[in-house]
């Protein structure tokens, strides 16, 4: 059970990272959110067999990690946690697509392996961009940005409430799990039946809590609409951040820079 606990502590750490004061953290959340979106679209829209075209995009996470004073090792572990999903999406490509695409001396690399590598590369790039967005902005500020940019309010509120209560909920679940572990011996009491009772218990407790929260909201004049006042100011450096990176992404998407560099180098040698 220690695993759940430490996983959550880790989420807490992501939040702690977002309290830092660096040039990255001081940017307007909307600028960072939009830039991340452009980045993700640019990366995802690359061709199926594209690897060289993707490599220059690494500059974005690298620069942001450096500027935002974020711990690369921690982010790498977080990425690894989600890696199985991408792995299983891509792993059948080498089996299905066996046509040799690249000849490296005597070794022929099939199109399947190339596209698999491309998928993994895209996964690492997009997930790290998303993690950097959260670590450099904070989920609350990201939600605020979403709301200001016209995302449906109820959707934003759902995320905020989820984030607010996930800690309370896991605390409650942990207490249940501990209570069971302390009174279970030699595997007895750890079975599936007891587990299903616990899930039911947790659901009921959650419903109770939801009810109490609703009462607390009503007591303070809640009438179906949650107001958030937090002033956001878009300054020139925010616009510059967004435009600068976006232009770079578009350029990197349109021109295969390693390819161009390679050609230029070849031209020089000739």
């Amino acid at each position: 059970m220690g695993k759940i606990e430490s996983a959550l502590l880790n989420i807490g750490y992501l939040e702690t990272l977002s309290y830092q004061q660096t040039p990255l953290h001081r940017l307007d959340p909307r600028a960072k959110l939009l830039t991340t979106l452009v980045f993700i679209v640019a990366v995802v829209s690359c061709g199926k067999y594209d690897i060289t075209g993707l490599i220059p995009f690494i500059i974005y996470p690298v620069v942001l990690i450096a500027v935002g004073n974020l711990p690369p090792g921690y982010l790498a572990r977080k990425i690894l946690l989600a890696a199985p999903f991408a792995f299983f999406i891509g792993i059948f490509n080498p089996l299905l697509d066996r046509a040799v695409l690249v000849q490296l001396g005597p070794v022929g690399i099939s199109g399947g392996w190339v596209s698999f590598a491309s998928i993994m590369l895209r996964f690492v790039l997009t997930v790290s961009a998303a993690l950097i967005l959260i670590a450099g902005t904070g989920l609350n500020a990201v939600c605020l940005a979403l709301e200001k940019m016209g995302a449906p309010r109820s959707f934003v509120m759902q995320i905020l409430f989820l984030y607010r209560y996930i800690f309370v909920l896991t605390d409650e679940a942990l207490r249940l799990v501990r209570a069971r572990a302390l009174r279970s011996f030699q595997g007895r009491g750890m079975g599936f039946k007891v587990f299903s009772y616990m899930i039911g218990q947790l659901l009921l407790r959650t419903l109770d809590r939801a009810h109490r929260i609703h009462l607390a909201m009503l007591s303070r004049g809640f009438e179906g609409k949650i107001h958030l006042v937090r002033p956001l100011h878009l300054r020139s450096r925010d616009v510059a951040f967004f435009l600068g990176w976006s232009t770079l992404f578009v350029l990197m998407r349109w021109y295969n820079i390693p390819h161009l560099l390679g050609n230029a180098a070849a031209g020089l040698i000739r």
Binding site: E15, R164, I213, L215, L218, R220, G221, I226
Partner: protein, 255 residues
Amino acid sequence: MSHHLVEVKDLHYKYPDGTSALRGVSFRITHGEAVAIIGANGAGKSTLLLQLNGCLLPQAGTVRIGDLPLNRKTLLHVRRTVGMVFQDPDDQLFMPLVHDDVAFGPLNLGLPVEEVEARVESALATVGASHLKDRPPYRLSGGEKRAVAIASVLSMSPSILVMDEPTAALDPKTRRHLIQLLKTFNHTLIIATHDLDLVLDLCSRAIVFKEGLIVADGPTLEILQNQELLDSSSLEKPLRLQGCPVCQAGSGLSG
């Protein structure tokens, strides 16, 4: 100052599962009084509190807050007058940041943003939590959460403060701070609690509940010294009114 008045007449409430929580309760609390609601677990204290700001509506009998009877039409006005501090601050602090939480009530009242900011500042300053403004509530300690929960109600400037177990799960020093803080309020205070020493410190009047009925209503000191009454309502003399075993042993030795 008639809007500080709380008047309950022959109030009945039965939960959907058949439990009769209140079976004919009447009392009247006037401006500036600090009143404790005490009694055993399940005596109906919390149900009563939920009635006072319309979280539950009376099934029989009436609740009057100030000049208004409590019903669906007056609900909003009553909720503005009666500030309710719930037992578990985690239930009350649901917004992403402390600031948003304290601003939640005033914004719902439709106040202009500058006024809301001023109220947030002053409410947080009152409970000594100004430095917590930009923190998320789940990152606070128990005492900080309690202080912020109180601020989130104070920001609506209620005339009447209703609190359910305000000192539950607080360490002794934090509890003492809270009591000192509550002493400075000149709101009408209604506190449901098992902390009888707190009652002794804060409340001049106590109402004793037993099985959905009021069995006693009078000056705190009288009630807390009535051994028979306390025994029959599952209560106990506050520790400070009990003989101190250490001092007694000491005086026994020297004498």
